[in-house]
Amino acid sequence: MTVTQSGFRNALIDADLAVPEGLKDGRGAPAGARFAVYRNNVVLSLTEALSTGFPLVHKLLGSQTFDRLAGVFVRAHPPRSPLMMHYGAALPDFLDSFEPLAHIGYLSDCARLDLAIRRSYHAGDAEPLDPLRLQQDPRAVMALQISPSPATQVLCSNWPLFDIWRFNMIPDAPKPEAVPQDVMVTRADFDPQPHLLPSGAALWLDALTAGHSLGAASEKAAATHPTFDLASTLTLALSTAALTENTTKEIQ
């Protein structure tokens, strides 16, 4: 008669399993469909969390297809933490091997972009790099130890990821062109925004993250990407609050 939490959990996730014995309604009859309330709560609440957390994927698929995808995903990958803000980190890789949607090749990168925006939203606060710090002796500037802010996320895609995002999320945006695009998500205040990265900028940001000075990171980017342009990359990074000086303390 004892209903274990394992038995309860298994019947929640697998609707083909019988309702555990020992559950009843108020008159002592078997609980029957009342158990479905918990089944529905679990699947619907997780589906809702995914739908909120992956707005671009949701837009691309439409509600009906998204909900069916979510129904499969939530059973294969239930949350591993009570922090629902992190739920769905496994969705991009799951999509890479999900055959029914394999024809939408860029879908997993769109899920990665949705995740990057959510991570940026919840990331720690940091003082943006003061542009005045760059108006000093060039040698001192090149020695600066700066890095992407915690809210800065970088994605390198084989698809026109920025264009796909813009076309689906911004009214009257132009159609995507068939080119690979690197995307940076930053948070100037509280609302993360994707930005298209110029050539070499993703590598430059990675090099800064790895601890290289501004000068060393720029040399690395230019070595692999001859068209890397430090001035325009810095302008973009400064205007989007993408950088912070490593000595700056985090707020809070």
């Binding site: 559950l23 609980a31 918990y38 609440s45 239930p78 591993r80 009570p82 606060d125």
Partner: protein, 284 residues
């Protein structure tokens, strides 16, 4: 008399609402009768950004109740130490007037099922829940309030009534209780008992907060009414009636309006808070 500013160690005997980030400007500019806010702890466990910024501003102005939905106090497994630490950190910087959690489980092994799942009321459950409450109170360094669940079914193995079970937990752990009268109405309807009788049997002296909220109506296999705890609608008249019934016995208590799904605009939620304020008048 009551200090409703930050650091107050008691919730005001006044209406509060479940805080939603889209209401930030409205609640700061025109709170109406709302003297305190309840936040879901897990939504503020990121590293920064808007959730933290809003919370820093809100705690300057309102008393806060931190309401956990992910601790799984009734879970068969030990409490998640990392999650307890996160709660401790949140409580340390937000300095809430109250911390509450649910008589339920939601984590199994490494999985979080994102729902408040039911427990059999047995001696084994009692021992486990009491140990977990002790651990929470020791970790947080304060009393916690435990909320009665909304039930859709019962366990044949239960040997305690829910009210006796809660009363025993109060005596054993020194915790307080959060009386959710919407949950009482839902469980009483679904399991076929008197909601007033439940409140009569409830250990009312331990009640530190009362919840009201909305629910959905459905039916079970036999056509019997089955109410679903959705927090997606206005509070129905019978639940307001139960609030008045409870307040007449407890005297004034902090009363919270919960609306978590299909969240309305601020004026609609404020109107519900006004109704809670009126309910508090005859009891004063």
């Amino acid at each position: 008399m009551l200090d409703t500013s930050q650091g107050s160690d008691r919730l005001p005997l006044a209406p509060g609402v479940g805080y939603k980030s889209q209401h930030f400007n409205d609640v700061m500019e025109d709170p109406g009768p709302v003297a305190w806010l309840e936040i879901h702890a897990e939504n503020y466990m990121g590293d920064g950004g808007r959730p933290h910024a809003q919370l820093r501003a809100l705690r300057e102005r309102f008393a806060l109740s931190v309401h956990g939905v992910g601790l799984s106090i009734g879970g068969a497994d030990p409490l998640d130490k990392a999650h307890l630490t996160r709660l401790k950190d949140l409580v340390a910087w937000t300095k809430p007037a109250s911390f509450s959690e649910h008589l339920a489980w939601s984590t199994h092994g490494a999985e979080f099922l994102n729902d408040l799942l039911p427990l059999p009321y047995t001696n084994a459950t009692l021992d486990r829940v009491a140990d977990h409450i002790d651990e929470v109170q020791e970790t947080l360094g304060c009393q916690m309030l435990l909320e009665n669940p909304s039930s859709y079914l019962a366990f044949a193995e239960s040997t305690w009534s829910e009210t006796d079970f809660l009363a025993k937990l109060v005596r054993r752990t020194g915790c307080g209780l959060l009386l959710d009268v919407n949950n009482v109405f839902i469980s009483a309807t679904n399991l076929g008992y008197s909601p007033q009788g439940y409140i009569d049997a409830y250990p009312l002296a331990a009640v530190g907060e009362i919840h009201v909220g909305g629910h959905d109506e459905d039916t079970d296999d036999h056509g019997a009414p089955l109410l679903i705890d959705s927090h997606s609608k206005p509070v129905v008249d019978p639940v307001w009636g139960l609030l008045a019934y409870a307040l007449a016995k407890t005297g004034p208590r902090p009363v919270l309006v919960e609306w978590d799904t299909d969240v309305p605009d601020w004026s609609t939620l404020r109107a519900e808070a006004n109704r809670a304020a009126r309910a508090l008048i005859p009891a004063s």
